[in-house]
Subunit: 337 residues, 4 copies
């Protein structure tokens, strides 16, 4: 931490600041400039985190130098984490595609969707059985019945299952049916859920919060990893900005940033990231070019009757066309799909 | 709902749209303009909510006309809800002040804080026993021990207790000690928590999410009310914007908007809303002038050693000065404090 | 400036950084922590501003310590600037109200508006003769004809005139008719206009840009002051955020912040700041309570036929009622209106 | 336009609304729903634009159906505009790369940069001679001297010149030296500049404003086209969001959206869009995959001594490597570079 003293700080102010830091068992370095004095704090990161120096007389501001996350950091582990989902790999050179409807609605819908996404080349079937919805009057999902449909449809086609968990009480149940547990954007800051997932036995796909910074997102993953579950996959799904033409603003720079700062894989959700079917294909390709490790795409056999997110769902035909392009592009950039 | 057809939509496109709406048991009205045709949908709001018309051929966009929340709406109940917390009222003419430390740290800290906020004229003691923190390595609260300290300190001074609940499993425990259950900004979209609070026996103070729209916030309150708990208090605590000078951007227009759209009371948190001690007083006064029903303010006997949020905590002396101004101002605007 | 070296920076990296700084005629202070080394840079602010250290090997990030603006700063001038507009004062204890239509439309409209705002107690007539509009097909203003109408209507009622300048070529013309020159939000970063206004002979009211930070806004004022025109008034008019319920998010904390950082006065525009008539009165009162030095409010004799911004314009009756409240409140907070 | 009446609107309210619309020479269609009545307005778009219906009694809200821009629209011209800059084409299948330093600093810097970008395969030399800077004390550019250096360096290498114009008074001068006139993000809403560029003789590259919506951006281009200059190129350069890790949030979905809504070409600026050198390459590739028509990239022979934007400038070596990838990728997606 660096403490910038006010130009009007007195010598006594500076001495009090130094005394307080040293009392906490830390060391200081003073830089006396023409305009102000700067106090560098040296020592144990945890002790430094506890200091609230901004409130002391004469302090203008404090600047944090190092981040608090550790296990998720590329500094902690240099090589890419490759997550092995029962034979299907994500990370490093391995590119994965997850596809399916927003919500599990019926056996017919799901079987049709599973067949279509398998045929086009996806490895995972996605679909929500527990749906977090803005209004209490909207469809909330089929719950365990939905999980069973997901598992059955996936097994029939040789797909893996990724589905959302919205409450820690459901983890055990969902682990019986799913291969990857998804944390939705609205729950990225649900720390009780994150802590519980730290003890889960399946990989976790952690969506970025609606307005989460990169640092908050990395710390959310640190909650899971520090609990013992090292299989975390980031998912960029767009952030909330002033622009309303798209449902969210897909931040593809996050792909490259996560790759720099962390060893964990990152997939992109262009469906929620844009909210518009016509933008899913170009953003999927852009995600591959930006270095993503996978895609999660909404595909619905009949988008016009979908109970949610019909606007952004691809038809099976659209998806098959897109997968043709994605296969070419992943190969071009040296990934294995 | 209003459906705007594309200028290039064919007559067949329009007929398919109309047929689909009528098949759902709804009626249509067509307006044929010079540039495009508009289809108005008439009938049961719930049936309309299920339509996904955007995906049909020829449809340019759909516009929602009515909101989904009902119980929280001023249309549903015209007169202000006044919440009676064991004799202390919030709403209508009744102004309430909640104050205390960010986190419960020790018996000394809490007793000193309780004494100070009571002396200055607050009715509620605030303090977190369960803390949602960005990093897993930050102080997470004293849990039940903290709740006991809160209750004891409040009882000794004749104050009520408001404290945060971060997990539905804790509701029963916290209800034993607290008078108002607070939902933090990071949990405004934790729908499982909201549903559980719909069955709680104590009033709920619902903070606005980091980037929640007014409509999402009202819907979150609808989750609680539709579960049966009608005692909901909104709390504006700043939203996330591009501006980094303040911790958040305090949106005081939300006070006036909530007053228009809902009958529920709204309090303002200028401490989190600005993140800077020097801004707490002016924003508190502005909140009163904007029509708020209360304030929740961080006060710490020794901000410079606070385990969290020291930067934005008032000292007891600052708080007492502010309360003098607030008392005058609430009286001036016709409120009872 | 403080330079944070990467944990993996070598001794040679550090030495190169130090050498480069010292070559620029500046001094350094090293703090060697457990995780990384920090290099403090000491010396002439202008020399430091020119350093681009981020690009050197081993540098993790650089942190700016001091801001570039000077003349606008409260550190440069401790006492409040009071601007005297031909006898009407703004700043310090002096509160000013500016009111009138968004655009000058006709002699009848303007005379009716001028009469109404004068009667209610405003000191300035506002109205746009040069209108910056999003679409080239929208009404662009009456230009010099509009300026004449403004001056005539204001003179008849004993009001001062504030009006927008959108181009430096118009400054001389507008100065003939107006008492305060307004820079609109869309031109806050039009540096050529700001430079030209540095040589103008009338006070400048500088609206905050749509997404301008406090620092950028202060620097924009510095452009004007550094040209020699020291009569600058800030105007908070709302910033662009994700919230669409209001036209903008009125940031009243900016009032208190500007008061801390600068000696210049600040007025608030609740009309553009909210875009909704019903929110103008509560936000006007909140602005007074937050410490504003004035208000600028849209008043139109017949909002329902206004050529622009009818939604947010008050009727003369609404405005008169509001002014009653504002007079009471300014007196209560110790200001002179 | 669609007018939604309040559920409590009276029959008289509705009749007044209808009467006012019909008096303006427009037609109405009424849809009477269970909750509210909707009034569709039919007729001349310009007449409708002038209606301010929101302020009439009983009106809840009005919804705009059609946009105001026309000439820039894909509805107006279905085929891609291909801009021919003296033999170098942009748009359709033609991909263009513009590269060079942020600011023109010296003859040596520019010649070295020009040589490097030509060698790597760029067609345009970029460089600012007129620099819009946040602080009046920052380097403002070499002006005409800088333009001459640009032209000379470009001619020597067989490159075209793109450079920024910050004031309409400079257009004539800059046209003498440049092949494309750039409007910077801070001037996207400088309507006087846009109008003047409508009469310019060179193509205009219009950067997206810091917080401009897609619609505002299209309207800004409409200002130029409606003046007679049909050679407009959009440039996505990142938008301002809450995320501070990057300088801006590069919105690549804008590429696909502009391609849908407009026939004009769009290039991407990953340098300003991210502000970090390490993100320029992945975002450049993502832009190509998203369908961009070109790239504008900051390249500086010695970023560590750049007078501005050194952090985000590539070295000639980095740029050459990136161009290798870009050449492969453009070919892969069927573009000609």
């Amino acid at each position: 931490m660096v403490i910038v003293m006010n130009p009007k700080a007195t010598q006594a102010d500076i001495e009090r600041v130094v005394a307080r830091i040293e009392k906490a068992g830390l060391k200081t370095h003073l830089s006396t400039g023409e305009e102000c004095t700067i106090v560098g704090v040296i020592g144990d990161k945890k002790k430094i985190a506890g200091l609230e120096m901004n409130v002391m007389p004469g302090v203008d501001k404090t600047l944090r130098i190092t981040e608090k996350y550790k296990l998720v950091s590329r500094n902690f582990q240099a090589e890419d984490t490759i997550i092995d989902v029962d034979g299907v790999k994500i990370g490093g050179k391995h590119f994965a595609v997850m596809a399916g409807p927003c919500a599990v609605e019926s056996i017919e819908q799901l079987n049709e969707a599973a067949r279509a996404v398998k045929k086009a080349g996806a490895q995972f079937l996605r679909g929500g059985a527990f749906k977090p919805r803005t209004s209490p009057y909207d469809f909330q999902g089929l719950h365990e019945e939905g999980l069973k449909l997901l598992r059955d449809a996936a097994d029939r086609e040789g797909l893996k299952v990724v589905t959302e968990v919205v409450d820690h009480d459901d983890i055990e149940l969902i682990e019986k049916y799913a291969d990857i547990l998804q944390v939705g954007a609205r729950n990225m800051h649900n720390f009780e859920l994150l802590k519980a997932l730290g003890h889960a036995h399946k990989p976790v796909m952690l969506k970025r919060g609606l307005s989460a910074t990169i640092t908050e997102w990395l710390n959310a993953a640190e909650y899971i990893m520090s609990g013992g579950n090292t299989n975390v996959i980031f998912c960029e799904r767009g952030i909330r900005t002033y622009e309303t033409y798209t449902r969210n603003t897909l931040d593809l720079s996050a792909v490259a940033i996560i790759k720099e700062l962390s060893h964990l894989p990152i997939v992109v959700d262009p469906s929620h990231g844009t909210g518009k079917r016509s933008l899913v294909a170009p953003m999927s390709k852009a995600a591959v070019a930006a270095g993503a490790d996978g895609l999660i795409i909404e595909v619905h056999p009949h988008p016009e009757v979908a109970l949610s997110d019909g606007d952004q769902s691809l038809t099976p035909e659209d998806f098959e066309t897109l997968m043709g392009d994605i296969k070419g592009l992943t190969k071009f950039v040296g990934k294995v799909l």
